[in-house]
Symmetry: C2
Subunit: 539 residues, 2 copies
Amino acid sequence: MGLAKNAANFVALSPVSFLERAARVHPQRAALVYGDLRQSWADTYERCRRFAAALSARGIGPGDTVAVMLPNTPAMFEAHFGVPMNGAVLNTLNTRLDAPAIAFMLQHGEAKVLLMDREFSAVIAQALSIMEGPRPTVIEVEDETAPPGQPLGDLDYESFLAGGDPSLPWHLPSDEWDAIALNYTSGTTGNPKGVVTHHRGAYLNAASNAIAWNLGDGAVYLWTLPMFHCNGWCFPWTLALVAGTSVCQRRVEAAQIYALIREHHVTHLCGAPIVYSMLINAPAQLREGIHHPIRGLVAGAAPPAAVMEGCETAGIELTHVYGLTEVYGPSAICTKKPEWAALAGDERARLNGRQGVPYPLQQDVRVLDPLTFEPVPADGETIGEIVFRGNVVMKGYLKNPEATEEAFAGGWFHTGDLGVLHPDGYVKIKDRSKDVIISGGENISSIEVEDTLHHHPAVLSAAVVAQPDPKWGEVPCAFVELKAGQTVSEEELIEFCRSRLARFKAPKRIVFGELPKTSTGKIQKFALRERTRAASAIE
Amino acid sequence: MGLAKNAANFVALSPVSFLERAARVHPQRAALVYGDLRQSWADTYERCRRFAAALSARGIGPGDTVAVMLPNTPAMFEAHFGVPMNGAVLNTLNTRLDAPAIAFMLQHGEAKVLLMDREFSAVIAQALSIMEGPRPTVIEVEDETAPPGQPLGDLDYESFLAGGDPSLPWHLPSDEWDAIALNYTSGTTGNPKGVVTHHRGAYLNAASNAIAWNLGDGAVYLWTLPMFHCNGWCFPWTLALVAGTSVCQRRVEAAQIYALIREHHVTHLCGAPIVYSMLINAPAQLREGIHHPIRGLVAGAAPPAAVMEGCETAGIELTHVYGLTEVYGPSAICTKKPEWAALAGDERARLNGRQGVPYPLQQDVRVLDPLTFEPVPADGETIGEIVFRGNVVMKGYLKNPEATEEAFAGGWFHTGDLGVLHPDGYVKIKDRSKDVIISGGENISSIEVEDTLHHHPAVLSAAVVAQPDPKWGEVPCAFVELKAGQTVSEEELIEFCRSRLARFKAPKRIVFGELPKTSTGKIQKFALRERTRAASAIE
């Protein structure tokens, strides 16, 4: 019938297309700002074409892995285009990992090339020395603001780029299902799993970010979220789609963030609750001279009411999103309702703190009974597993068909998070399945206890885990970090919880001190759980 | 390797998915407003599910054609979901066509069902009487505001819907390449061609509309653009994506438009320049009480500077987009640059009046040499054919493989429009290839002459076509509609053009009077060309 696909009407969906468009529409607009650097979209496109061509010149091609161990610098942004424009797969390494973990990833992912920053040369040198199999070519990205360290690279990034001809044609993937990135999850036990994502999903989630956030042409985005984390939730590609400006920085510190917001008129940023908590608790004089509205996406943990309210006061409009590496970062969004504006702050924070509804271009998020795979009733009470389905879901785990099959059981991606469905169709996490505390046969949501603790005025941050108990099996143990200058006793806090929760849900023990956090700002519950186990064993 | 597509990570892209999401996220928000009707997204979803189930109950299924002859009423909106949710193909008929054209389309498209409004019962009755082949089931959409006419339907729309069970499951297409719509182009010669579009492209262009226009959650959209025209540029699906409200209306009249804008706080609308011309030339008192900003997309013809400037004054922020039925409506956009704001109004209107750059999710628009298919230089002068490539390009023409092959020659969709590429990467139309006037071997762009005429203060609208000439082959003949109460002589206008254009480009003749327009507000140049030929034959 002459209605088949052809070169005119069918093109592989790939987010690298957005770079070509940004360079055409806004060639002179700044794509990247870093220190004194202002790099236009035209220059960024040329450098990324050099990047792709230089990889090709070294024999790297479709399906090969290119790893990077970089902070949020321009080279990290460029890698998100240069690598997939060559058909290779971008493996962003978590910069806070230790050498054995990095060695495992380089080996398991079979990285042919490794881009690195001198800040991490010690851990990289150690990882290279202990890994088995072929050693990747190491390219060092020179940056005068990097802390001192041993030079390590086989060559430097600018020399590498100089070896690529920017006039050579680059190619879209032959299939939009081709891998674009490999991201290792920070597994708490056993080896990390390598999440493989595809061009189609990255394209759609990049567009979904723009739609979800109503992100207009010319947004100015500050990189507080690590780009190594789910490819910065696909935002490098989103920023190309809207031809926005990326303000890069090596570290996440309140003074620098406010200075960059002021200087570059930053409009958008993303991060875990701890980032916003840091911003709203920073000295007020840091904020002087900032009068424009700022919009933030928050994920990684439900933002405590105090953070939601503090941001409101500070002129940061927070929206809560939820996702995992397997779904390219944000995959559900707590879409705000106009009628919530009239509610009390506490109630509004409760509604805004939910995981919500499918991200615009994600197909579905549901809560399923773990045994029958049937949807739980929308009663806000029946707990099931949160699952996703759609085009923004990974291909699977690299070289791990068993884990892949398990993750996709029944035609849904299983998050491992337990939640409920509220009557208004919004999903609310109750707990990670492994974080639920089972006490005398009753389930206790660690999140519910933490939320209660967060309401105490002296509490900065709280994490609740199961502590082995000879009578009840498990009991809640709370780790609490207090606000500077505040004090409260263990007894007082336990009583505070008992007055607000069913008695069996109140912590039996409170441990005060700083909470251990992952590189993405999540509290490391597994470390706390270890501590309670060790303590129980001793007792 | 366990990285294949499965039910969890691969879903056909289809814009009907957006309806399910809108009904989940904003069930009580108004999806449709029409007269006294306020219909929520939950109700709209239920009615569309009824629609799909009722089609199935009548034996209609995947690949079958459902035609509609409807004004911009709620049923027209519902058809954009109910029909593809059943797997059938939506054929929206241009309501201004005559019976022979409608008969051709019903027959050629093999419509199994025809939804119609009583306003068109006479033409439909005649079309049914002259068409060959099986007669479609006719469903009349009752509407008390319809002008009087003969009842015609085999059944009425509400009874039809009542025959569908909204609890039955509906299905995404088995393949996102499946046809979603059939739109006949208003060919000027020969039979119209049936443009077949697919779910994938409709999904992407619906998302592209939201991104291009930064269309946020809860937009209020006024239907001034006919939904029969390229499926309303995919905006029914865009409005589901952003859960916006569609304000429907049967006619496009300034008084009603302003009343609806005021009452419903309309934020967005689309249309041909004539719609905006009508709005800015309407009596000022109609605009009283409207103080919020309104954003308009304009297409169908480059908006004259007077329209761009008039809209600025009237608080309507216009953006020019360009496309054709074959590319689902808007497929290029004249993205504004912040630096244009400082330019003189005339110069800004010239820049804003260009066809521009690819729409966000369209892959590419170029200007190619018609012989070599090589890109023309970006000099703003070398004329070539404007071509598109990407995922928002039709499958092809129904039952017309020759025309399809011709349209896709060389791996590009050929628009038939002639244009240039400006040094800033923006495309500018110079003319339809068939509208170019060849005078003494020199090409004259009819658009250039029209633009000049539009600068004369007495001219409301102008169209320039070729008039056969024994000496020069062709010469420009201008048809001019004057503003109410204005006069100007033929000689004066010709002299006005001569003072601004190369002498051979000035019209040789001016004909004053109302200009014939198509149903979408485009001036019918073929009719004017007929007139000049007839006149020449007589002379």
